[in-house]
Assembly symmetry: C2
Homo-oligomer: 417 residues x 2
């Protein structure tokens, strides 16, 4: 069961999330939006003020009562860095506390370069670049969140397995990065990054149960259940890409057959295109991005092969999404990552139509299926959110230590729930 | 996000669950076992004492400190009724607060009888029977939990859809039952009943994330996530029986094809037996129970057809369970309900072996697969637990009203978390 400390941390997340979403806002509005008592909200707001993450910004008249103090996120109260490590690039962004992007850096990773020392060098260079771009006037960096594909042990910071890199096992990535990066480091994987990004800033905000389907080279589903990210007992929940869609179907690199990923991941989509039309001009044999871009342009132009490939992909995807709808009964299924963003509305329309044929009526009625509304790289944003959650998670203990110079200690009006 | 009230209710469940598991116990042990503060435990224990659900039973010496007061579940402090409605029977049990069975009743339901009025008559008769058996000296009945197959709206008490009964739609079952039964009624479905039974009294006790796979005529998975039952946004989570195992496979009554249920539900197992050995003496064409019993005896006797059917069933089941392991990363998968109980260890051994071939290494390592340890009908036990949870859920408001005669009001030493 959840301990008092888990609950306090979750409530701290909830209040800051709501402040970011609706700045400026009052304690009364926050209590109404979160379902927490006014006393609890007042305590949590006090902590966030002490941390310098939010500020008082005046007051509004309230009907018939005394004026209500307003608070807003303090954008320059700290900076967060998000790192998206992918098979072919390292993408890094620096954000303010309102999660605006202040600086970006990207490093290419060539196939021969994915050895731990080389990768760490790319990450360190890009993080150094965004901090330098932000300049000496920028706010203190509160932490660096790192999204690493595959299985990650959050506690130890070990990257246990990267599905598309051979000979990558049990790499102590956080320790290696810490030799170059002095800020607190928070390691997790892209499924969880996309899930927290949607939960804090996207289509899952305010939802209790949501599934963020991640469509790229690899495929997975970040799960938001009961208002928080579901990680499972060993932080590996969400491996929907490795659930069976076709028993004894296509072989998968995981050792199983017929996995969802072999049909709807970018390589699976390319395979389908190759089988349907071997000499198609849409096919760029060694370039997933170019092929998926060509398919998107082909659909827009009415190319029958492109239309067929996207329709069939939507149908595979829909069968797998119907499984998620029937099993988890979420409020929303969000299609995220670059394949979903590139194929866009035609893919979404095909998925919606086919899910309706596969899913049970009751959960289907309760579920929306949408494209991610996040305009930037959701993995970077989510990784930065890991750093924000990390800073908040230890805030209870750190409140005194990091109090803004001159800020008064706030009295605790109620014990946080 | 979870409100203060949700959290208070979940904590009240957690403390009573722990007291039932380890009576007699002290507040200090309860705090250690639940992760709650001693002050919160003391408050919740006070509430449970006021409700008459637990009693003080002396004290134990503590090393170097003052003696610790002990509490235990007050078995005769109330009675709970669990109702298991199935396709062919209504099974009702009356429990004391330690969840010992005090009385049982069963009514057969013939195919023509599954009209709402007839079914309600059977339930009312069986509930009347167990209350009469328990006698006038028995404790007050705190509530009646009812498990109804299919989709149930817990809030309105409407049985929306029963998968194996034609013409059964949107039946206001709770209201119909309330015309005959004066106790508080709590309606939900067998997936949730088996999940709460395992969570309170079985293999999921003390676990944060567990999946209870229900193998009967219908198939589903009760989900325990984050320490509580995951219901989804419209209380229909867990429809794992209607996830795709074989795209375009066997037609399913849900309208989809290739659903898990069509391969591992009792009718699916019979179909496989018929295809493998059309004239088999193991096959009882119109009797699922007799056929599954014959298969179990056949495996024990080394009958090659029976061995093959159970092995193939285990393999289908394992592919579906590997999906749950990869997606949810649970600590334990519990095989429950009558098909699992009847096929027992040979099925379990086959499942364990085949899951290891289908699942990813990391979540697999973290997961145990076990048969349900609950010796009685888990659906009745779980339904009674709905009634217990219902009584506890409103206990905060009702504490004053139902205080035992003569019991002093307890001071609140801390607000409940």
């Amino acid at each position: 069961m959840r301990t008092s400390r888990d609950i306090r941390t979750a409530n701290r997340y909830g209040v800051l999330r709501q402040i970011i979403a609706s700045s400026p806002t009052s304690r009364q509005e926050l209590a109404a939006a979160t379902g927490l008592s006014l006393a609890t909200v007042a305590t949590l707001v006090g902590e966030l003020l002490d941390l310098g993450m939010i500020t008082e910004v005046g007051f509004e008249e309230s009907a018939g009562g005394r004026p209500r103090d307003l608070v807003a996120v303090h954008a320059s109260g700290g900076a967060l860095v998000g790192v998206d490590i992918a098979e072919t690039y390292v993408h890094v962004e620096l954000f303010d506390l309102a999660l605006n992007v202040l600086a970006r850096a990207e490093e290419d990773v060539r196939p021969g370069e994915n050895r731990p020392e080389r990768l760490v060098g790319h990450v360190a260079a890009a993080v150094g670049s965004v901090v330098a771009q932000a300049g000496s006037g920028a706010a203190r960096v509160l932490g660096v969140g790192v999204s690493m594909p595959g299985q990650v042990d959050r506690g130890t910071g070990v990257s246990e397995y990267a599905p598309n890199w051979d000979h990558w096992h049990d790499v102590p990535l956080r320790d290696l990065l810490a030799e170059h990066i002095a800020y607190p480091l928070h390691l997790d994987n892209p499924l969880r990054a996309c899930a927290v990004a949607e939960l804090w800033f996207g289509a899952a905000r305010g939802r209790t149960d949501a599934v963020v389907v991640n469509l790229g080279t690899g495929v997975g589903a970040g799960l938001v259940l009961g208002g928080g990210v579901h990680r499972g007992v060993s932080n590996s929940a969400g491996e929907w890409g490795h659930t069976t869609l076709v028993l004894d179907g296509r072989p998968c690199h995981c050792g199983n057959h017929g996995c969802v990923e072999t049909y709807v991941g970018a390589p699976g989509i390319m395979r389908h295109l190759r089988e349907l039309s071997p000499g198609s001009a849409l096919l760029h044999p060694d370039d997933q991005t170019a092929t998926v871009n060509a398919l998107a342009r082909g659909v827009a132009a009415g190319d029958p092969v492109a239309v067929q490939v996207v329709r069939d992909t939507a149908r595979y995807l829909a069968a797998g999404i119907a499984d998620l709808v029937n099993l988890l009964n979420p409020e929303v299924v969000v299609l995220s990552s670059w394949v979903a963003a590139t194929l866009g509305e035609p893919l979404l329309a095909g998925v919606r139509e086919a899910v309706a044929r596969h899913a049970l009526r009751r959960p289907l009625t309760a579920t929306e299926i949408v494209l991610s509304p996040i305009p930037t790289d959701p993995v970077c944003l989510g990784a930065a959110t890991f750093a924000l959650e990390g800073a908040l998670g230890s805030a209870g203990q750190r409140t005194a230590a990091v109090r803004r110079p001159g800020a008064p200690a706030r009295s605790r009006t109620a014990p946080p729930e």
